[in-house]
């Protein structure tokens, strides 16, 4: 195995889990693997594909992530890789479909798989492995955001005898059951990584008002060292906090889905190049960002689920050095979290009106969900489904509140939510030890105002000469 690893991908050793996953796939088994992002998830299908010498299909829900993975692979020297997604123009798509058999690795979105010509073309290929990336989306988002991920199950059923690899970084037991069910995985090999990372420490702080949180963030960032990410649910707030930090000369930038693509790329690149110390972001930030030395993640408000929270907090300390994830809480957070979690669900009235064919105003997501329900289920089934969904979401919300209000140990709650037990004892969380906050390094120098230091000729020369 090691010989193949070196030969095909140039690595000298496996990271935990990789070898087990590849071996199971080569034996033709379905695999559900929980591996943290940035810890070599993609190696699992890369090596398997190379060793099988057959085409690997990778289904990924997020277009930007897909693009990023294709670029990463090209960087590694794997050139026969393509992303088949809605970014392509009609012409590009036709061209890609015609030449599809030339590629070893084909990335595509669940939406594309619903298109007749794509489906047909794929059946003509010699596919050896189907990978479902970010498989938790099937459950975490699937029901409400991505109907096409659900339809995926139907298509997979028709692909007999091709092993399936479902990958995720964070999934609870319920989510894992969902994944298995939706993807029709029969007695899969399951690999769980240990989520209890000793280098990641948790801290929690309570405030009387939201304004106090923002004031604390400003003071804290002035006194301590990044690089870090501050997560906040609202776009407006990312701008507001970033501006506050810039006013005291901290190199910070706001990041949200409202920015144009080029600006988002620039911010990521600046963060990786250490030109930006802090990113103030909505949940849009993080997928596909590989920065090992993130020292702090601050949640201005708890994420709408612990799966989201762990994924975001887990972006810190990828280099194995200590980092602290700080969760800020204030009265009223419960409502914000509830609003965020339930925001995109249709209401019961909407379901009724939609089934009765009445005109109504819906968000894009609500329209997508209702259209899907309408095509698959009766009215009663849809109402039943909505109830189940609300119950599920409420359970997820309660789990986040447990972490908000616990008097005992944050880590115990977080780990048990993912069906794991806590092993790390030392500096585990701020509730168990006051010393956690001391792990954050004190700022050594005060930043100076940023300015364009070069004139235009100088900068051009620096770029090209």
């Amino acid at each position: 195995m090691l010989h193949h690893l070196k030969h095909y991908l140039g690595y000298n050793e496996f990271r935990p889990g990789q070898q087990e996953v590849v071996e199971a796939l080569l034996q033709g088994k379905d695999v559900l693997a929980l591996l943290p992002t940035g810890m070599g998830k993609s190696l699992c299908y890369q090596l398997t594909g190379k060793m099988m010498q057959r085409t690997v299909l990778i289904i990924s829900p997020l277009l930007s992530l897909m693009q990023d993975q294709v670029e990463q692979m090209k960087k590694m020297g794997i050139k026969r890789v393509i992303a088949l997604n809605s970014f392509l123009t009609r012409m590009e798509k036709q061209q890609a479909l015609q030449q599809l058999s030339q590629y070893e690795f084909i990335f595509t979105s669940p939406e594309m798989l619903q298109q007749g010509d794509v489906k047909e073309r794929l059946t003509q290929l010699n596919i050896g492995l189907i990978t479902i990336d970010e498989a938790h989306c099937i459950s975490q988002w699937g029901y409400d955001f991505r109907p096409d991920y659900l339809r995926l199950g139907k298509w997979l059923k028709s692909q007999k005898n091709i092993p399936i690899l479902a990958l995720s970084a964070t999934a609870t037991y319920e989510v894992m059951d969902d994944i298995k069910k939706v993807l029709h995985m029969t007695s899969p090999f399951v690999y769980l990584h240990n989520m209890d990372r000793k280098e990641l420490h948790f801290s929690r702080k309570w405030f009387n008002t939201t304004d106090e949180k923002v004031r604390w963030i400003k003071e804290h960032v002035m006194q301590t060292m990044g690089p870090g990410i501050i997560y906040t649910p609202s776009r407006r707030k990312t701008e507001e906090i970033a501006r506050l930090l810039q006013d005291v000369h901290i190199q910070a930038a706001a990041y949200h889905a409202g920015l144009e693509s080029h600006d988002r790329q620039l911010i990521q690149a600046q963060f990786i190049a250490n030109e930006l110390e802090w990113i103030v972001a909505t949940s849009a930030f993080g997928m596909g960002v590989h920065k090992p030395n993130i020292r702090q993640v601050i949640h201005e408000t708890m994420s709408p689920s612990l799966a989201h929270y762990m994924q975001e907090a887990g972006r810190a300390a990828r280099d194995g050095q200590d980092a602290v994830a700080t969760l800020l809480c204030a009265p009223g957070d419960d409502e914000i979290i509830r609003f965020l979690a339930l925001d995109d669900l249709p209401t019961k009235n909407m379901v009724t009106d939609f089934y009765a064919g009445r005109q109504l105003e819906l968000s894009e997501t609500q329209l997508r969900v209702l259209t899907y329900w309408y095509s698959e289920w009766s009215y009663d089934e849809a109402i039943q489904k909505l109830k189940e969904l609300i119950t599920q979401k409420m359970t997820a919300i309660r789990a986040t509140q447990d972490v908000l209000y616990t008097d005992e140990c944050m880590r115990v709650l977080l780990m048990s939510h993912f069906g794991q037990s806590k092993q790390v004892e030392e500096l585990c969380c701020s509730l168990c030890s006051d010393a956690v906050d001391n792990l954050i390094k004190v700022r050594k120098w005060m930043p100076l105002p940023q300015q364009m230091k070069l004139n235009w000729q100088e900068r051009l020369d620096k770029l090209l000469n």
Binding site: E260, D263, L266, Q268, W456, L463, L464, N465
Partner: protein, 331 residues
């Protein structure tokens, strides 16, 4: 005073109180309606067409309100009254580029990023531009130009420096252009960062940036020209009118064109009316005298009509001259 507000004020001045304030919005958005296209020709507003296709109505309305509060204009039921004219000095060329200047710039970004990485001997990088079409275009361009030898980098640098010397560019435009580019371990600035550095709004920065691109795209050196492929709109004439236009530029007379192309004189005259509407700065002089144009517009105002038949009865002018005169105000 913000750039954007000045720009709107300038266009409102050009419109001579004869349109509604919304027509400026449609013009900047690049609306393809007959009315907007007619405005472009009549008030010679080619420069500003399609400058800001993503402009939000709310942002535009804010500026109108501000102009009212400053007593520069006043909205009325039919249109607006201009209390204070403003004429700026601009180098836009929206009619020709129609938003494609951004495509040109994205190509410049990718070329610079790639060559910068070639120089650093590190070809592992994440392209700043995500569009597959642009990536492929630049890839083909770079391969055709043999990007692995250093000559291309030198040529690119020379062409950029030369284009940036253009006298119409300000120092601020040059520095902003260059800071928006990315290279090896040297990411560019976001709109917000550029705007902050110049202490202006993001929208103003974007407007100034568009103007700089329009100026730089006048550069016709080989590499910059190659990157302008498909960024220039030239099909605003029908095929037949285009042929007539080309022959006019070669010095043929109306009659000669008619004979050579075996088309009726009337047809060629219709072409010329179309050309007068669509080609910025096309001179009416050879076909209709300035005095006549003035007369036609006096009649339009006196009788409150654009009907050709009525105007013909009043003025006793050939239809061709009437139609031509109506394409243009104030010439």
């Amino acid at each position: 005073m913000s750039m954007f507000k000045q720009l709107v004020h300038h266009i409102l001045t050009k419109l001579q109180q004869e349109r509604t304030v919304s027509s400026v919005y449609h013009l900047l958005k690049g609306k393809k309606s007959g009315q907007t296209l007619e405005d472009v020709g009549m008030y010679q507003l080619h420069a500003f067409y399609h400058l800001l296709p993503k402009l939000k109505r709310s942002v535009y309305d804010e500026v109108i309100v501000a102009l009212e509060q400053e007593h520069k204009i006043q909205r009325t039921e039919q249109g607006y009254i201009l209390h204070e004219p403003y004429e700026g000095h601009y180098h836009f060329n929206g009619w020709i580029y129609r938003g494609k200047e951004h495509l040109f710039f994205e190509r410049c970004v990718l070329v610079t990023q790639t060559l910068s990485h070639v120089k650093a001997q590190d070809m592992h990088f994440t392209p700043m531009v995500k569009s597959i079409t642009t990536q492929q275009f630049v890839k083909q361009f770079l391969q055709a130009e043999h990007y692995h030898d250093n000559q291309l980098t030198t040529r690119w640098l020379t062409e950029l420096k030369q284009a940036l010397q253009h006298a119409d560019l300000t120092e601020m435009m040059r520095v902003s252009f260059v800071y928006r580019l990315s290279g090896h371990a040297l990411p560019g600035y976001t709109w917000q960062q550029l705007a902050d550095a110049q202490k202006m709004s993001v929208l103003d920065m974007q407007i100034i940036f568009i103007e700089s691109l329009h100026i730089m795209m006048q550069a016709k050196t080989p590499l910059l020209l190659a990157l302008q492929k498909d960024c220039i709109t030239s099909n605003f004439l029908t095929v037949s009118s285009r042929q007539t236009y080309e022959m006019l530029q070669l010095g043929y007379t109306l009659e000669q064109i008619s004979q050579q192309r075996s088309l009726k004189i009337n047809t060629i005259q219709d072409h010329i009316v179309e050309i007068a509407r669509n080609v910025p700065g096309f001179s009416l002089q050879p076909y209709v005298q300035a005095d006549t144009v003035r007369q036609v517009w006096e009649a339009v105002n006196a009788y409150q009509t654009f009907k050709l038949k009525t105007l013909q009865e009043i003025l006793q002018l050939p239809y061709f001259e009437l139609k031509l005169a109506l394409t243009r105000k104030g010439e």
